[in-house]
Symmetry: C2
Amino acid sequence: MEHNLSKHISGKFNQDLENVRNHVLAMGGLVEQQLNSALDAVSANDSEQARQVEKDDYKVNAMEVSIDEECTRIIAKRQPAASDLRLVVAIAKTIADLERIGDEARRIAQVALDSFSKEQQDLLVMIDNMGRQVSKMLHDVLDAFARMDVEAAFKVHKEDAKVDREYEALIRQIMTYMMEDPRSIPKIMALVWSVRSLERIGDRCQNIAEYVIYFVKGKDIRHISQEDIEKDILKL
Amino acid sequence: MEHNLSKHISGKFNQDLENVRNHVLAMGGLVEQQLNSALDAVSANDSEQARQVEKDDYKVNAMEVSIDEECTRIIAKRQPAASDLRLVVAIAKTIADLERIGDEARRIAQVALDSFSKEQQDLLVMIDNMGRQVSKMLHDVLDAFARMDVEAAFKVHKEDAKVDREYEALIRQIMTYMMEDPRSIPKIMALVWSVRSLERIGDRCQNIAEYVIYFVKGKDIRHISQEDIEKDILKL
């Protein structure tokens, strides 16, 4: 069920809102690229690429600040009505989460600056699997945002539970590894942080899914159970 | 240097903005109480109190949702001009950080559900010290927010570097402990998460300090060095 965005946009706004929406999608694309680069750097143990992710984070930050200003300007200049205002609010919140996802990608890339033994590599492979799953979640929620598709957004929302289970399992694996080889703890701790970062990215994708539903349905669904969202708000 | 809030508030807004501001302060007070309760629960190993923190988190969430709606309603109804709009934006961002601080307090309280050996208690004492430092930071930034005092806000902003150093030191201590007693790793991991939560709360207090400066000075200071903030924006 794709939402007809243009119907929601009153005449003279069109251009401003269309512009800011495109900027969000560009920012989303950059953040997705940063996450994938970070994952690539880790799995290839490529410190060069890791440093590039670190270096490019300023671009994500600059985009957030500039889109944020754009949102404030639109509100001040255009005095938007209900649904337009909801779009601006949804955008302002989305870019805040995107910026934090960029930060997490930067943290994940750090892992590539260290080198790992053959046994430790097994953990890296598992982290990469979880990473690709989270990256797909980010891709899907940006897609749902682009089309303002509540069903697609809700699918991502539900996906987060899988990521959380993956996270629990991976942390258990990492702890077992630490117990078997305590000297490796300081090095392995970096993997703990990167797994945590991936879990946090999942949460933030879930947040963005909530903003899409908020915009389309006009309901703030944070802190509401998925069952109730499905029944009362999406009426699926 | 206290900021004269009322000068910034145009006539008919007064009541709406005053109300929402009071709601933010009430929410801040509740979050502060949740954090202190969580720390008390951990240091007294009081599982009852920990469950109370968990249980009361819904109040924080409900306040965020309701203040968020209030902000949207003010913008839609009042069409605020520049400085009023900045206040609403600063408030909307502040409550998002406060809600996340509430989540972290809930996570920290979990530590009280487990019991620790005498040696492990030493780590708990260190965590409590860091916790009280962070709690003071939260108190101070809420105070800066209440008075819209940029200098006080900037002081909190600088305080975060200390919390980060404390965090690094504590994580090193915890890793040493894990290396010496690998069987304790699953239990000690809970301490790692609580120290991480405290560090995150420090970051969020720093965010709130940035919103205070944004409101008063009209400048977005995220991603700007403290040196430049001091020189170019606060002109101290």
